[in-house]
């Protein structure tokens, strides 16, 4: 049972090859329909109809400038003030790209972690607790509990449990990025968007982060932008290949890396790109 849309002249490889996930165990949580993104007059995303499967990791790969971040940031409307986003973004059956959607409520369900770790100039504890306090969680024991579970899930608890009062700005890059993940999951989101979260980290921190993500996928739907193809291969179930504002190929990760259908994808994953 394949939903496939190949556009190809006979005897050549297709220009696009999109296979949406259909695994019944992992139903679609988030999908885009007819997404177009413009920066002013400049169109940055032309096509991007993708479905994202629940409790799976989907990787977005592609050359720099191909529109991965633009696409990802559109998903929880972080681009609202910067870009014009047309089309529908369906989250569990609701189009969240409607103007009357409360973006703050929506972003608590679709959280985001950025390329460069951006811990706040607060203590480690407050980095996680303060957004909860703003949403009315004030009981100390409840906060303590959430801080601990978030830090545990982000695999940071053991390193910082004795210095929760320390400024988060004193953490190392890898620790800071995991704190940002802990901060994002503390508000109990449903979907977690990550934009090249490991690109500023050393190899050891990167591999710790990947382990963390693999554990997190039991609880969250994860969409991760990465320029590191090994990383995509190691952790993701599905991979979308972006090129010049278009999704050229979308399939299971193993298909994309072992049997790409589109010439450009094949060039990119084998390193013959550009």
């Amino acid at each position: 049972m394949f939903m496939s849309s190949d556009i190809a002249k006979p005897g050549t490889t297709p220009e696009r090859h999109i296979v949406q996930p259909t695994d019944a165990q992992h139903p679609t949580v988030l999908s885009t329909e007819g997404l177009h993104v413009f920066y002013g007059d400049k169109e940055a995303i032309y096509e991007g109809d993708l479905k994202f499967a629940r409790n799976q990791i989907t990787a977005l790969i592609g050359a720099s400038g191909s529109g991965k971040s633009t696409f990802l940031r559109s998903l929880n409307r972080m681009n609202d003030r910067i870009a014009t986003v047309k089309g529908r973004i369906m989250y569990r059956g609701v189009d969240i790209n409607q103007p009357d959607i409360d973006v703050y409520e929506m972003r608590r369900r679709i959280g985001m972690v950025f390329q460069r770790p951006n811990p706040f100039a607060k203590s480690i504890y407050d980095n996680i607790a303060f957004a909860l306090r703003l949403r009315g969680v004030t009981a100390k024991n409840k906060l303590d509990e959430i801080v601990e579970t978030s830090l545990r899930q982000a695999a940071l608890w053991d390193q910082v449990k004795d210095e929760l009062d320390k400024s988060a700005l004193a953490l190392s890059g890898g620790q800071a990025q995991r704190l940002c993940i802990a901060r994002a999951i503390a508000v109990k989101p449903d979907v977690l968007l990550l934009d090249e979260p490991a690109s500023a980290l050393d190899p050891v921190s990167t591999s710790q982060l990947e382990d963390t993500l693999l554990k997190l996928k039991q609880h969250y739907t994860i969409i991760i932008v990465t320029h590191n193809m090994q990383q995509a291969a190691r952790i993701s179930e599905y991979t979308a290949f972006f090129n010049q504002g278009r999704v050229l190929e979308y399939d299971t990760t193993s298909q994309i890396f072992t049997n790409p259908q589109v010439q450009v994808t094949s060039d990119y994953v084998s390193g013959n790109f550009g």
Binding site: M78, G111, N118, L134, R135, A170, A184
Partner: protein
């Protein structure tokens, strides 16, 4: 002329110019301190002025200067903070914003005497506040607003946009992000700006002579009820400040030891400004350290 020789001469001249400027500036500060400091004593700092006799102090004026400073800061800080937040965090780059920015620039370039005259016209006469602390505090507020706004905006600018994105991604509104994430992180630099602007306000006189007035009625420092006329806290009493005092005793020329009093007052003013400067640097650094370590 050979270009090497020319180079030598030019650099020599530059050394000369810098030397002269350093001399002028040192002479200036030296004169203020050397002629003024011997006059400064506890008695001088705490006793009231005497209009026609020798041996008066500057106690009331000093108190007035600080009281006005605090009031002016209390009024101007929230306004400047709000304006800076709007300009930096919300304003779009359009003609409305550019008109507003122009207006703020105009306010910052207005001579302080014009601001004082407006204060006189509006608060003293129109609103019938009379020569009073309140009129003076408003005039100082106008004088202070543009620079304070600019300085807070600069402080907001020092905080990385990634911090803003971090707040928004957690489902916070821009306002919550600014007040809970950005402002706390910007406190050291905002504080530095506030203290530096306090120094300017402390020494301002032209905006005050027709608003806070040029007289310093005796105060009863045991009476802290702001509704009593002799209470130091009464905001409706006229209040000559230290800077205005220097100007006034020199232009009237009736105080017998006007020169000595002015020297002492000038030294006090300059030292106060110096302390404001040092405090700004020190506190800014200290707070920043506290924020990033410990």
């Amino acid at each position: 002329m050979n270009s090497k020789v020319q180079n030598k001469i030019a650099i020599g001249v530059l050394y000369g110019i810098a030397g002269v400027v350093v001399l002028i500036l040192l002479a200036l500060v030296g004169y203020i301190l050397v002629s003024g400091l011997p006059k400064v004593s506890w008695h001088f700092l705490t006793t009231p002025a005497k209009a026609f006799l020798k041996g008066g102090g500057i106690g009331v004026q000093l108190f007035n200067s600080f009281y006005l400073l605090i009031l002016a800061m209390l009024i101007s800080f929230p306004i400047a903070l709000g304006a800076a937040i709007y300009l930096y965090e919300y304003a779009k780059d359009n003609w409305v914003t550019s008109v507003v920015r122009t207006a703020i620039e105009i306010l910052s370039s207005l001579p302080s005497v014009v601001v004082g005259l407006f204060g006189f016209l509006f608060f003293v006469v129109k609103l019938r506040l009379g020569f009073s602390i309140l009129s003076g505090a408003f005039a100082l507020t106008f004088f202070n607003l543009p620079l304070l706004t600019r300085s807070i905006e600069d402080s907001l600018h020092t905080i990385d946009d990634k911090q803003r994105e971090g707040g928004l991604a957690l489902g916070l509104s821009r306002w919550e992000t600014v007040t809970r994430v950005i402002l706390p992180a910007a406190v050291p630099s905002i504080l530095t700006g506030v203290i530096l602007s306090a120094g300017r306000v402390f020494g301002e006189a032209a905006a005050l002579i027709y608003t806070a007035g040029q007289s310093a009625p005796a105060l009863n420092f045991m009476d802290w009820n702001p509704f009593n006329i002799s209470s130091p806290l009464n905001p409706m009493r006229p209040a000559e400040t230290l800077a205005v005092h220097i100007w006034k005793i020199n232009s009237e020329g009736i105080m017998p030891d006007a020169k000595a009093i002015s020297s002492g007052s000038s030294a006090v003013l300059v030292i106060a400004i110096l302390l404001f400067n040092l405090a700004a640097r020190y506190l800014g650094k200290r707070l920043y350290k506290r924020l990033t370590s410990a």
